[in-house]
């Protein structure tokens, strides 16, 4: 070692203690600088509070930054809203089981509308196939993986399932950080930035409605749906839970959910249960309606009925 390197008292190493500490401090400081596309968002995102604790300005900034980030990342003009619930609205859903043909168009429309991960593949709607004259809608015996050439299959019927939006939701009860809660218009939502990924809610849900992002979600850029809601269809993160929100980004703007719109046989019904003139109320008042796992006391707002003898031949 040369004399010029012995330039600190009591030290004869190439990296002196002072140099090391200075370098460490500088390195730590650079983490606070905005660089590239991150926009100092690392710290903001990490320390962001629960959605219900954000004040109006904070929320505005968050949405604006999110829009900017997503627009850049996906090359589309992204809007992220946080539209509040409408007054005097409690949404309800009903499936006409005499019509469902098991085509799964709803499953894939949901994937596209809600920006669900294609790889790993996440589905928020699961259609269960039951054999007629044999399985008696026994929830222990449904088959989610039917794969024939053509549907409907002779001798089978189909029961689509998704989040039942319970009025007494077990998932909300168990969440240790209240990352999931019931909104006034009835949807159970998740704050993707608050969820710690403990998956207790998934153990608690009787309907298999909650889905975990086990890996980093992947959405092909050209397929991104750019009309988003903060509590709904914005792209989720690895390590958090997501679930059907009755297309909160649509229904709070007065539209139908994607699954209701795409169903080719009109098996899906949606509306405001508080409106005495709604289709939902008509169904509840006139049809033979039942719910899944009624005995568990979850009080779901998702109803099933048969409007007629089967429209499916045999």
């Amino acid at each position: 070692m040369t004399d010029s390197e012995h330039n600190n008292k009591g030290s004869n190493s190439l990296i002196t203690r002072r140099k090391f500490l200075t370098g460490l401090a500088a390195g730590a400081a650079t983490l606070t600088l905005p660089f590239g596309n991150t926009d100092a968002s690392i710290w903001e995102e990490y320390f962001r509070q629960h959605f219900t604790r954000l004040d109006k300005d904070e929320l505005k900034n968050i949405l604006a930054n999110l829009e900017k980030k997503l627009s850049q990342e996906y090359g589309k003009d992204v809007t992220v809203r946080a539209t509040p619930p409408m007054e005097n609205v409690l949404f309800g859903y009903a499936i006409d089981l005499s019509r469902c043909i098991g085509c799964r168009k709803c499953v894939y429309a949901c994937v596209k509308e809600n920006n669900l991960s294609r790889n790993p593949e996440v589905h928020w709607i699961v259609n269960l196939q039951f054999r007629k004259n044999e399985k008696w809608l026994n929830m222990e015996e449904g088959n989610a993986y039917y794969n024939p050439e053509i549907v409907p299959e002779k001798g089978y019927y189909y029961v689509p399932t998704q989040c039942q939006q319970c009025e007494n939701p077990p998932c909300v009860k168990v969440c240790p950080v209240k990352a999931t809660w019931k909104e006034p218009d009835g949807m159970i939502v998740v704050d993707y930035n608050w969820c710690i990924g403990c998956r207790y809610c998934m153990a608690a849900c009787p309907y298999g409605a909650r889905h975990f992002n086990w890996g980093k979600p992947y959405i092909p850029k050209e397929e991104l749906n750019p009309d988003m809601h903060y509590l709904g269809n914005r792209p989720q993160y690895k390590g958090v839970v997501g679930k059907c929100t009755w297309c909160i980004q649509r229904t709070r703007e007065g539209r139908y959910t994607a699954c209701v719109e795409i169903c080719p046989v009109g098996a899906r019904k949606f509306g405001n249960m508080l409106d005495p003139k709604s289709e939902l109320r008509y169904i509840l008042e006139h049809m033979k309606v039942f719910r899944l796992k009624e005995d568990l006391g979850t009080n779901p707002k998702f109803f099933y009925f048969f409007s007629m003898g089967s429209s499916v031949k045999s």
Binding site: M139, E140, G142, I196, G197, C205, V240
Partner: protein
Amino acid sequence: MFDAIKGIFKVLLTGSKAYKLLIAVLFFLSIVGMIFLFKQFEQGLIATNMRDQVSWGWYIANFTFLVGVAAAAVVLVVPAYLYHHEPIHDIVILGEIMAVSAVSMCLMFVTFDMGSPERFWHLIPKIGIFNFPQSILAWDVFVLNLYLFLNLFLVAYTFYKLYTGQPFNKKLTWPLILFSIPAAISIHTVTAFIYVGLPARPFWSAAILAPRFIASAFCSGPAFMLILFQIIRGKTRFKVTDEALFKIGEIITYAMALNLFFLISELFKERYSATAHIASLDYLWYGLHGHNQLVPWIWTALVFNSIAFLLLLIPKTRKRLPTLNLACVLIFAGVYIEKGMGLVFPGFIPSTMGEIYDYFPNALELWISIGIWAVGMLIFTVLSKIAIAVKTGELRARK
């Protein structure tokens, strides 16, 4: 202060070849675990075999088992302090150290099972949102940390008083020790309630679950401790009398009797009533629709526990160390299987919508678990080494 720290380092860095080898092996296993953990952080939990259908697996199974081991410290505390059983009183510190090690492992298992563990601060009241008292998980976070600090304090206090040669302040320690008894029961009861409170899972939603947890914990924890204590007494100057070991053996006998009785109660209720809700039970014990991956495991556990019970019941075999030790090993394995393959996995199989996913942990999950156990055993070794040093007088403050 510095003398104490220097003394501790001296104690930890000197020891037999066996001790140094143990530390080296545990250290190595911790590093291996950490390497796999980095992979899991990078890829996400998709690197495990857990999926939506079985969303809790090997990590939570280990967590559940270890809460029981932690609670079992009370099996030493009660005879030592309430019944003034001197032989056990001399070794109760090791039980408290076991509790600290076990709860530390619990916290590691739960943290590395989370999808977003960096968001742990969301659990802190006021800064985050702590859903207490509605969420039983929030309860568990609370009681586990309380129990950890309680035992950590008692251990540290014991070390300090023995090191300085000062008398113990009974007015301080007695209430804490008394409190540790219901605290121990509470941690395993609350952990059981995490499962019991879920009507979506009929396999778990049974009143007998909490009593069964306590009974199996009071077998497995002390069984583990019995083996460790004999290793300690064989390798160090720390005295553990046969009388203490045999008294613990007696307690384990009663606990296993209760455990088996609760099992019979559970099996009768489910199989005699034979409703659709026994699908998970059938999957576990007989196989379901041709899926029978777990069947050999649970029957092995039953055989182990039954043989162990017989060995413990018969005084000749209970009061001889070779057969007592065999019983302990069988119990540890039996209850470990019961809590993992026997409790956590079948709760998810079939899923709430009837789907069967044959979950079994993969290599990554196993190596991370081994790493966590290694860290826990390192904590136990380090604290025990200090305990032995202060108790035998090797580590003392200079006058």
